[in-house]
């Protein structure tokens, strides 16, 4: 095995045992269940998650307060928010497929929200931000993150890209969309009235956030626990338990019966697909970095890793 899956202590396929959470979950309800458990146990005081318009209507004081145009929140625009209860977790559940700057709340969580122990969910790049913040905390004063949950990520989309994909390509109104999903080589849009539209991923590529194309991490190598649907059967999620903290939280959550699991070796398509996609991402983006090095005539674009 190469380095494409990062360091991990264990890997399983899992699903939440909480039927109510599962109803609202993207896949196996892993993130919501982990945070619900960590909140109950006092491992965290609150968690930073990607909420939305409906969440903001219900819990405005739990959302980021900046100039992010909160007067008019469009359907499916993520709003970073702090959750401290299971009801709030459920209200924020589900993947949004566009940018949610969760790290923007990381300092605010200790200030306005008074959290000593912060949980956070994010993409691999956001996990990188969390770890940079712990080793090089230029401005993150007294920020303590006992549980960082990373999600697998091939690339992300700006809000306007999702608008374009759903309303133009899939010809659906965003407000009528119940769920979005990327899987089986397609971008799926599920309508509230039961209609399903699928777009080939090829269509989506030009709408990807360019900043994603220098990212060399598919499975959130720097999270305590990382999770994503890839590798597991429908309704289940693949889990990598990575850090000591992650190991301890996962063991406690398992002991408390929060999850049912299957060995990753026993499920289809299994780690083989995760490895394949991780390598695809890393190879493609290394090529981007190489191309950036000779982008102009004797002039390079900047490489953040050097």
């Amino acid at each position: 095995m190469g380095a494409e899956l990062g360091k991990y202590k264990s890997c399983v396929s899992a699903r939440s045992t909480d039927k109510e959470l599962l109803k609202h979950a993207q896949d196996g309800g892993i993130v919501s269940s982990l945070f619900a458990f960590a909140l109950d146990e006092g491992i965290i005081d609150g968690a930073i998650v990607a909420a939305n318009k409906e969440f903001y209507a219900k819990y405005p004081s739990k959302c980021i307060q900046d100039n992010s145009n909160l007067d008019v929140i469009e359907p499916w625009r993520p709003i970073p928010a702090i959750v401290t209860t299971k009801a709030e977790l459920i209200a924020a559940a589900g993947t949004k497929y566009n940018l949610s700057p969760n790290i923007a709340l990381l300092k605010e969580a200790t200030r306005s929200f008074g959290l000593d122990k912060i949980g956070i969910v994010g993409t691999p790049c956001q996990m990188q931000a969390v770890r940079k913040a712990s080793l090089y905390p230029f401005g993150f004063r007294d920020v303590n993150v006992p549980l960082a949950v990373g999600i697998f990520c091939m690339e992300n989309f700006p809000y306007q890209s999702i608008l374009q994909l759903v309303e133009d390509h899939a010809a659906m109104k965003l407000e009528s969309v119940k769920k979005m999903e990327i899987g089986k080589g397609k971008f799926w849009v599920y309508g509230k009235r039961g209609q399903v539209v699928q777009l080939p991923l090829k269509v989506t590529h030009k709408y990807e956030q360019p900043g994603c194309h220098v990212c060399l991490d598919y499975v959130a190598n720097m999270a305590d626990i990382s999770t994503g649907s890839v590798g597991s059967p429908d309704g289940w999620s693949t889990i990598f338990v990575r850090s000591k903290i992650g190991d301890s939280v996962w063991a406690k959550a398992m002991a408390a019966g929060c999850f049912e699991t299957q060995p990753i070796e026993k499920v289809k398509p299994g780690l083989e697909l995760v490895t394949k996609l991780a390598n695809e991402k890393i190879t493609k983006n290394k090529a981007t970095l190489d191309a950036r090095a000779t982008f102009g005539v004797g002039k390079a674009l900047r490489n953040p890793y050097l």
């Binding site: 700057p101 990381l106 931000a129 230029f138 401005g139 953040p304």
Partner: protein
């Protein structure tokens, strides 16, 4: 005592916020002083205030070039220190003192302030206003390991400090390098590297940055040029070899402070 590194603290035109941040390590500061650091001079926290020969000097504040004493002190700091660390936005980039036009009491003629890097060679930058207690602690521990550690520890400290040593080389001017929100524009966003994590908005001490549709929007009139946003940005610098080992490094730092 033999194994300690000698440290000094030169205080120029700064608000003492960096001093407070250092002191806010509480017990950690006492452990640092007990085990690793012989604090030779420091206004505010030590009796001795005059610059002496030391291994590492921390400098808080920018230099008022109309103040003869300040100019002498920064030069003397350079001459007498092996390593000079610019602590905080003022020392690194001028920060809020960049906006001074003089006329303030009780020294109205002291009107021109420069980051210390415009007058002397600086080895390490710690941007931010103020840099956090944890950041100052991490650099202090790494400075100790660099000077007194085993070969392995020296390598780790070198790798850790490398990006902070690259910052002074990039310079002190706005936009040209690392001084304000302009640097996020020129070095991250314009370079197609921003992925919208929100680190910059979180660390801005004056809330000049908001995340609009997932991307940073800087109110440049509010920016005080502390350098925190660009320093904190994972696409500003990201040394995977060091940050990837965050768990072991954090554990080592915490163990050192036990």
């Amino acid at each position: 005592m033999v194994d300690k590194i000698t440290v000094g603290y030169t205080h120029l035109s700064g608000c003492t916020g960096c001093t407070v941040a250092l002191a806010d390590n509480y017990g950690g500061l006492l452990t640092l002083l007990d085990k690793y650091v012989d604090l030779k001079y420091m206004p505010t926290l030590a009796d001795a205030r005059h610059i002496q020969k030391v291994d590492v000097s921390f400098v808080e504040g920018s230099v008022c070039i109309n103040d003869k004493l300040a100019v002498e002190e920064i030069k003397e700091t350079r001459e007498k220190s092996t390593v000079v660390v610019a602590l905080g936005g003022c020392a690194c980039y001028g920060n809020i003192t960049r906006f001074s036009r003089g006329g303030q009491q009780n020294q109205p003629a002291q009107e021109a302030f420069l980051p210390i890097g415009d007058l002397i060679k600086v080895d390490v930058y710690i941007p931010g206003c103020a840099p956090t207690p944890q950041m100052i602690r991490n650099v202090a521990v790494m400075a100790y390991l660099l000077l007194k550690g085993t070969k392995e520890q020296k390598d780790l400290a070198t790798a850790f400090l490398k990006p902070l040593m690259a910052l002074p080389v990039q310079g002190t001017a706005c936009g040209a390098s690392t001084a304000c929100f302009c640097d996020l524009m020129t070095n991250v966003i314009d370079q197609g590297l921003c992925m919208g994590c929100g680190s910059c908005a979180a660390v801005c001490p004056v809330r000049a940055i908001s995340m609009e549709y997932g991307k940073p929007n800087g109110e440049r009139d509010l920016c005080i040029k502390c350098g925190a946003c660009y320093a904190q940005c994972p696409r500003g610098f990201f040394n995977t070899d060091v940050i990837g080992e965050y768990e072991a490094i954090n554990e080592a730092i915490m163990a050192a402070l036990q």
